[in-house]
Amino acid sequence: MDDITTQFEEALRRHLRSGKPNAINYDMELVQLGLDSMTAVAVLLEMEKTFNIRFPDEMLVEGTFRTAGKLKEAVQMLRERQAA
């Protein structure tokens, strides 16, 4: 597992309330893993802090964090955009 994935999963696990799954299922809806409106805010803040990124307004919608896979894609895209 690369560093980014490790950091991403650690950050995500800190805010999910449905216990601490050993392996994050990237296709499962985060709501099913215990994400609610408040933890969603905390997760996005944590991602911004961990990866030194900022979600633009148009990405502050449910689709961005519907699944762990979607969220990771968004984080990677913002990191690449920032690096460019």
Binding site: R17, S18, V31, Q32, L33, G34, L35, D36, S37, M38, T39, A40, V41, L44, L45, E48, F55, D57, L60, V61, E62
Partner: protein, 374 residues
């Protein structure tokens, strides 16, 4: 609505606040408060702390002053209470003026809106006595007018509250993800002691993606103009009683039932329940003529309404469920639940009464998976 005197099991300080919150309506209640206030064993520190937590200091002060209890209260405490009441009256005057200013601007652009909560209640449910505490002015608009209202507010000098918040980015993300309100708005004003005026504009009677809702457009269609004390000929539009009741109760439900408000330390207080009781006391006929029940059933909000009223009756010994004909209504599983966040039901091992009194409500939370049936 009659109700028995409360039991004193949670202490004299708490009993005083429960009585004041639900409204003193007869001599036996007045006498009970008097007896408790003049008792030498009364813990003033506890009373003042709980009054502060429940935003009831001005109300406590007004009761003591208007019932001629000045010389039964320690002098230093009396002086503080007196100034707290005067200060609240001054703040309310400023809020009234600001509310009217915003209201005139919105009306001038043809926007349908009402004022809600404190600014709507202080002059009606609380008699314009300066006893209802508020820390912002609340408006309700239709979702379609969000952008237009934001533009009007900007013209009036308001800026998004993010800039004033302790954690600005958290506020900003939260606001974008929960579009049931506009971002909180504030502007600095030139008043001694008041640095900013905050305006909260909601566009939902519940919350974003709530399973319970009542159409805002429908609620706004039939408004009532309410005189503004101290401003001759000036009025503010409010919901008519049925929708005012629905919004007030659903708002209380939101703050009591969603765990995030406990986590934020901003969930329900005695005053919010007091608003509900006073609304029923003020308009019993209009709330029981069948129309309210019809609206509740049409929008499928009987369950959350019954949830709130059950807790109101358990806490304050009122008979709100009976008055509104809802004793047999409501889904028992929801009625029995204490709180919910997506995917989880969190059981508080205590009653609403104990929850209200608790000074560390977060510690009462016990996360229990929803499928456990808790």
């Amino acid at each position: 609505m009659t109700r028995p005197l409360p039991d004193r099991s949670l202490g004299p300080e708490w009993t005083i606040l429960e009585l004041l919150a639900r409204g003193i309506v007869n001599d036996s209640e007045r006498q009970m408060v008097r007896d408790l206030l003049v008792a030498e064993t009364l813990n003033w520190g506890e009373l003042l702390e709980q009054a502060l937590r429940h935003k009831m200091v001005p109300m406590l002060a007004h009761h003591i002053i208007s019932n001629d209890l000045r010389f039964d209260v320690p002098t230093s405490i009396y002086l503080h209470l007196e100034s707290a009441l005067e200060w609240n009256r001054f703040q309310i005057q400023v809020y009234r003026r600001e509310a009217v200013c915003v209201a005139q601007a919105l009306a001038g652009r043809g926007i349908h809106f009402v004022v809600t909560k404190g600014i709507a209640f202080e002059s009606t449910l609380y008699g314009g006595l300066g006893t209802r505490f508020m820390n912002d002015v609340d408006f309700m608009i239709a979702p379609r007018d969000r952008e237009l209202v934001l533009s009007v507010m900007t013209e009036l000098g308001f800026r998004t509250f993010f800039e004033y918040a302790k954690d600005a980015r958290r506020e900003e993300i939260s606001s974008r993800l929960n579009p049931d309100h506009l971002p909180k708005l504030a502007r600095t004003i030139d008043e001694p002691g008041i640095k900013t005026i905050q305006i909260d504009v909601a566009n939902s009677l519940t919350w974003a993606k709530s399973p319970f809702d009542v159409s805002v457009e429908e609620a706004l269609a039939d408004r009532r103009d309410q005189p503004v004390p101290g401003m001759s000929g000036v009025t503010l539009p409010c919901f008519r009683p049925n929708y005012q009741f629905l919004f007030t109760v659903l708002h209380l439900f939101r703050e009591a039932w969603l765990q995030k408000f406990v986590d934020f330390g901003s969930d329900v207080g005695l005053m919010k329940f007091g608003d509900v009781i006073r609304l029923i006391d003020r308009d019993p006929k209009e709330l029981t003529d069948g129309e309210l029940l019809r609206i509740m059933e049409t929008h499928n909000v009987t369950d959350p309404i019954a949830w709130v009223l059950r807790r109101t009756d358990e806490t304050f010994h009122t008979g709100t469920l009976e008055v509104l004909g809802l004793e047999e209504r409501g889904d028992e599983q929801l009625l029995a639940s204490q709180m919910q966040s997506k995917g989880y039901v969190n059981a508080l091992g205590t009653s609403m009464r104990e929850r209200l009194q608790s000074k560390s409500r977060g510690s009462l939370l016990q996360a229990v998976p929803a499928h456990s049936g808790s």
